[in-house]
């Protein structure tokens, strides 16, 4: 727990049943390149943890290790109190456990990654119907509500390629919400968007924060992070360099690197 310094992120100070996600001493290398060098992080239910940091600092890798798109080399991960069982080399011992845990996390990618051969509605019901085995009629009804919520109620039968980036990203958020995830993981959800489309996606995320969704949000939108986050983590070269409440991290940064980083962003 070397890098945990302040209260909201410290699992020791939160009731066990409140913990939505907990990461301990996570290490990840790609060949000789050590990308994560022992990251510990936790989020309680309802927390919005903003993860900031320079390009290549390991933000995406951190999110990808949480749902095992990348296999960590070392560390502990638990979701909703269920710890993922790992072998000595970090690989998951039980594929089914990984698959089950993955359905409890909702991932939103920088590049949307919608399934292009399926309409928006089909994208949103795909996982509920086929992975979670929810009756199709129920899944469709729920998908319509979700697409309505992200402002795409009139586009349910459109294919992703015919939509703007902002619309695609909002559909991707609806797809992630459709599994009713315990934690939403956002990896730079607005970085691939034209500036005028960023706002509509941030509005959707802001709503989710307001309704108390637990989220890990990798972002370069510092103003937005400051506004919605309950906790901010600054990652530098695979380590947590500084973390704390947004007012502290943004208003009174202690680390030189963080100061420089915040200046370079503006």
């Amino acid at each position: 727990m070397s890098s945990t310094t302040s209260a909201p992120g410290d699992p020791a100070q939160a009731g066990q049943q409140d913990i939505a996600i907990e990461i301990e001493d996570l290490h990840k290398s790609f060949g000789p390149l050590e990308v994560l060098k022992g990251v510990s992080l936790s989020a309680r239910k309802g927390d919005v943890v903003a993860i900031i940091g320079g390009s290549g600092s390991g933000k995406s890798t951190l999110l990808r290790c949480i749902n095992f798109l990348d296999t960590p080399n070392w560390g502990k991960i638990s979701v909703g109190g269920e710890q993922i069982v790992l072998r000595a080399d970090g690989t998951p011992a039980n594929r089914r456990q990984i698959e089950r845990i993955r359905t409890r996390l909702g991932m939103v990618f920088q590049a949307f990654n919608l399934w292009t051969h399926r309409t928006l509605l089909e994208n949103v019901i795909e996982v509920p119907v086929h992975v979670l085995k929810i009756p199709k009629a129920d899944a469709i009804a729920q998908a319509r509500v979700l697409l309505d919520r992200v402002g795409l109620g009139d586009k349910t039968d459109t294919f992703p390629a015919y939509l703007s980036g902002g619309q695609q990203q909002r559909s991707a958020i609806a797809r992630a919400l459709a599994v009713n995830p315990e934690v939403m993981l956002f990896d730079e959800p607005t970085s691939a968007l034209d500036p005028e489309l960023v706002g509509e996606v941030l509005t959707v995320i802001r709503d989710l924060a307001a309704e108390g969704r637990t989220m890990l949000l990798v972002t370069h939108e510092m103003k937005f992070a400051r506004e919605v986050a309950t906790h901010v983590v600054y990652l530098f070269e695979g380590r947590i360099e500084e973390q704390g409440p947004p007012e502290e991290v943004f208003g009174n940064p202690k680390s030189e690197r963080l100061k420089q980083f915040l200046q370079s962003i503006h």
Partner: protein, 250 residues
Amino acid sequence: MDALLDILGLTEAARLLSLSPPGWGMNLLRGLVNSLQIAFGAFGMGLVIGLFGAYGKLYGGPVLRDLLAIYTTVIRAVPELVLILILYYVGTDLINKAATMLGHGRVEISGVVAGIWVLGIVQGAYATEVLRGAIQAVPAGQIEAARVFGMPPFMLMRRVTIPAMMSFAIPGLANLWLIATKDTALLAIVGFNELTLETRQAAASTRAYFTFFLAAGALYLIVTLCSGVVFGRVEKWARRGQPSLREARR
């Protein structure tokens, strides 16, 4: 009708091609049906082999990958006619040896089944490469999106990879199907009564070579044209959701 044929000088041809004896039309059609049966079977078998081959090449261990590399290289290097001779004679020989060892005596191997196996193995090698390329063309993000929501591997293949790769695979697979229909003609060499052999027999018996080979050519052409229509539809379906280049240029 008769008068028209007379004016065109086709009375003789019509008589030779008539569906009832002494015309040979029925023989040609029977040959066509046999050819199509083999082409269908071989194409289907090629698809199955190709799917396993492609997944094996992409995700298999080193031994499997090497074996598949040998398979696709050898099959694609050797002329099809030679392969057919080898696979047909070696294949039937092996089966007969096995049958005698098990105390069954000689087994009669149906021409259609043998043809499907032989051409299917050839088609499988090409299909492996077509499907491997198509799978690799699927954007990695779409596969990741499926994994990240907990799809198990087989469901992922069925629900995401295969539908998403279809649009890349269809043109190559359409080629393979047309090659399959025409490769059936090579089976004439092992005495199988497909369209080409039936045509040759009809032509030899009547000396009307021109008439019969022209008729056979027309039948092959009709098959190709119909296939074109079918594959056109399938490709349109497989490309659903992708704006066409023409739309994109606007």
